[in-house]
């Protein structure tokens, strides 16, 4: 139900950039939910209930998109007319591809060996990697305005998030 015309940055009264004040995002998200949540419209007219549902849903979607650095970068690029994950956007530096394959291999081996400590250290390693890409993204998107390099960094971040999610799932299944 999220309307493609809603600009999430505007919705949360934030400047349209990668480096945002997460605290302001949280505070404004809560304010919007306080005003729009379906709990506020239990005995309201059908029309008001519908609008409440739409806005509360959009606010949740927008909050999630902006809170997570990878989806925030991807969304920011979308606003600049670039689809970071389109089929035509596949260029990836060779060293990152090798690195990515190594992570995957590590993950599969640890999964088979039911090796919890290795899985946990892999998650920590991936999180550190993600942090450094986020710093790079802030520079590329907000200062240098280098959208081509930013697209590549965003794709890296999405890759890392995926491996990290898979590693977490593997940890969960082992417990």
């Amino acid at each position: 139900m999220s309307n493609p015309h809603t600009n999430y940055f505007q919705l949360f009264a934030l400047p349209e950039r990668f480096n945002i004040d997460i605290q302001s995002l949280e505070v404004n998200y809560r304010k919007i939910q306080s005003a729009s949540h379906p709990d506020r419209f239990v005995s309201a007219s059908t029309a008001e209930k519908l609008h409440s549902m739409q806005l509360a849903t959009t606010a949740n979607e927008g909050y999630n998109t902006l809170k997570n650095p990878a989806t925030r970068a991807k969304y920011l690029l979308e606003q600049r007319g670039i689809n970071a994950i389109s089929d035509t956007n596949t260029a990836m530096p060779a060293d990152f591809l090798v690195q990515q394959m190594e992570w995957r291999e590590h993950l599969e081996e640890a999964k088979v060996a039911k090796d919890l400590p290795t899985l946990e250290s892999l998650v920590i390693q991936l999180q550190a990697e993600a942090k450094s890409i986020q710093t790079e993204l802030a520079d590329l998107l907000d200062t240098k305005k280098n959208d081509i390099a930013a697209t590549e960094a965003t794709r890296k971040l999405i890759f890392i998030d995926k491996v990290c999610a898979d590693a977490r799932q593997a940890i969960e299944q082992l417990e």
Partner: protein, 631 residues
């Protein structure tokens, strides 16, 4: 001359306008009803001063339906017709019940079609679904509340375990409808407990609610900030509770009896219920005592006389305690939190009184759990607070609950794999769409299978519904664009729609609930439960239409008074005209005409509703003008 009355600032000038609303904790073992009176949440008692209503329903030989203590007293004499812990069967099929051998009921699988697989129980009053049995408990609480509050209820907030899936939630809502209750909201039990606890203590910070009830286990992690209760993650086990501890003791007793008696015959249904009751009593006794003596005579004359010590109880049930820690770890991981981030752990549910469970929680979270509110009542007290707000009794409404969906929702794709559409722990309400395409050349229909769960294979997840999208124009394989939209509302209930995009052709969707009752079944049950002469039905419809009309008139009138400046005078005039029309039609006895006029008023206020929503968000963001944002 009479003195003029002036009300206290902030108090309503018309106290009789207080809308009666209750919170109901529909528990596995006990159920409660609570309400807010003079701004205090209170549990309502029956004529004998009991707050807890045992969730036991007996179908008596004379045709009466008996609920509560009286039914509980008869459970060992009449086990087949006295249903306890019915909550465990809500939204379940017979194949879900793994320990049938130890449950003294005559289960019947629902109609043996895939469409409706809910189980039924054979009683002397006929086949009963868990929904009907639960409705009897809810009816008893409704009567208690209306008697105690002296009026008809406008609605109720009913609590459900956070880890209940869609089928279980739907079943609970169906039971409430059957009991004649207007459900204001289904509220997750740990969230309700957090509300009672958080408001009581004016708490801020990150809290864990550890809720072990009679049949379900939930763990929720909430962030409390200025009246906003945000659930960060929830996890649990909807088939783990105090009953399982009783069952372990029951098995232990059986082993002991078998050891000492050579010719041990299989237990009758009466004996099974008797031993389960004795087991529960022993478990409760061991909370404050070192040993429990279990003495009773079985129907075949065998004397049972065994002693269970507290260390023995720990030994035979420690694995169940350990089983609660795994969901706790998962929730912590999902919330991305470390033990040091937790400001407090609140224990909820009667089963958390067991000392070895308390120790395990304390060991894991490295802090002493909080127990200053009665773990049996805290859920109902929280639900009553939410009910009071939703019924509109509190205008400043500085409390907001942001809850999540406990389990991932997805669709079956090629190879019986699950494609997740909404991940678990997504904040509600939520809507997500995903596009799918056809697999074969010229394919004109698509079968859409909705599942809930975390596993990769469809067979490991719960099947919720099967849809068929028909009338797709023949196209090359992979050319069609089928957009499937999942929407989960604030009650945590899912609805799914599908649409073919590329041609703009509106395709037909058929919904078949795999679990739960169909609309027709509910209607026929409702009809059967009211001694329904045609006149009664008409009177009821008219009363409902009038209540609906009254609600919308007062809501729109109030909106015009505060936000009338948002629309033009002409628009205001149109709305005013529709209000007048509706008000005059309400005086007639024509329910259909009243409902039509309600629709007309709703239609007339659409633009106004949108303007109000934008204005209220602008106000919330203090001065931020949202006019140029298209919502």
């Amino acid at each position: 001359m009479a003195l003029l009355q002036i009300s206290e600032p902030g108090m309503s000038a018309a106290p009789h306008q207080h809308r009666l609303a209750v919170g109901i904790d529909l528990g596995t073992t006990n159920s409660l009803v609570a309400t807010v009176r003079s701004s205090m949440s209170t549990v309502l008692q029956d004529d004998f001063g009991h707050a807890l209503l045992p969730s036991v329903v007996r179908y008596a030989p004379n045709g009466d339906v008996i609920v509560g203590h009286e039914a509980q007293a008869q459970q060992s004499n009449d086990p087949v017709n006295t249903i306890v812990s019915v909550k465990r069967f809500m939204g379940r099929s017979l194949s879900d019940i793994t320990d049938k051998a130890h449950i003294p009921y005559r289960f019947v699988d629902g109609k043996n079609t895939e469409a409706t697989r809910i189980l039924q129980i054979q009683t002397r009053a006929g086949l009963k679904t868990p929904v009907e049995i639960s409705a009897e408990i809810l009816k008893t609480l409704k009567v208690r509340a209306e008697k105690s509050l002296g009026g008809e209820l406008v609605g109720a907030v009913i609590t459900v375990p956070a880890y209940f899936d869609d089928a279980q939630r739907q079943a609970t809502k169906d039971a409430a409808r059957l009991a004649g209750l207007n459900v204001l909201r289904l509220l997750n039990e740990p969230t309700a407990a957090a509300v009672a606890y958080g408001l009581d203590n004016a708490t801020e910070g990150t809290y864990v609610i550890y809720d072990l009830g009679g049949g379900t286990f939930d763990v929720s992690i909430l962030k409390l900030t200025k009246g906003v209760f945000e659930v960060l993650a929830t996890n649990g086990d909807s088939a783990l509770g105090g009953d399982d501890f009783d069952h372990r003791i029951y098995c232990w007793i059986l082993d002991k009896v078998r050891e000492s008696s050579s010719n041990f015959t299989p237990l009758s249904e009466e004996d099974t219920r008797l031993l389960l009751t004795k087991s529960r009593q022993a478990k409760e006794w061991l909370t404050d005592n070192f040993e429990a003596q279990i003495v009773c005579r079985l129907s075949n004359g065998t004397l049972v006389d065994v002693t269970l010590t507290a260390p023995q109880l720990v030994e035979i049930t420690q694995h169940l305690v350990t089983k609660t820690l795994s969901p706790a770890r998962k929730a912590m991981r999902d919330a991305n939190l470390a033990i040091e981030d937790i400001d407090g752990v609140v224990l909820v549910g009667g089963a958390t009184r067991m000392p070895h469970l308390r120790h395990a929680v304390e060991d894991y979270f490295k802090q002493e759990p909080l127990t200053n509110l009665d773990p049996d009542k805290v859920v109902a007290l929280g639900a009553a607070i939410q009910a009071n707000i939703l019924a509109g009794n509190k205008n400043d409404a500085d409390l907001l609950l942001l809850d999540v969906t406990p389990l991932s929702l997805g669709l079956e794709t090629m190879g019986s794999l699950v494609e997740k559409v909404i991940p678990r722990n997504s904040t509600l309400p939520i809507a997500r769409a995903q596009e799918f395409t056809t697999y074969k050349e010229g394919q004109t229909a698509m079968s859409i299978h909705v599942v809930q769960g975390e596993r990769e294979l469809v067979s490991d997840c719960r099947s919720l519904a099967r849809f068929e999208l028909r009338g797709i124009p023949p196209m090359a394989a992979g050319a069609a664009r089928i957009r499937v939209t999942f929407t989960v509302d604030a009650d945590g209930l899912l609805s799914v729609s599908a649409r073919e995009q590329s041609t703009g052709v509106t395709a037909h969707i058929e919904v078949k609930p795999a679990y739960g009752l169909s609309e027709d079944e509910i209607t026929s049950m409702l009809k059967a439960s009211f001694i329904s002469a045609e006149e009664d039905k008409k009177a009821r419809m008219l009363a409902e239409a009038r209540v609906g009309a009254g609600a919308i008139i007062s809501s729109v009138t109030a909106a015009l008074a505060t936000d009338g400046n948002l629309i033009s005078d002409a628009e205001k005039q149109t709305i005013a005209t529709e209000i007048k029309k509706l008000a005059s039609i309400t005086k007639t006895n024509d329910a259909t005409a009243i409902n039509k006029a309600v629709d007309a008023l709703n239609h007339a206020t659409e633009a106004f509703a949108a303007a109000r929503m934008n204005a209220s968000v602008s106000r919330a963001l203090s001065g931020k003008n949202l006019e140029d944002i298209k919502l």
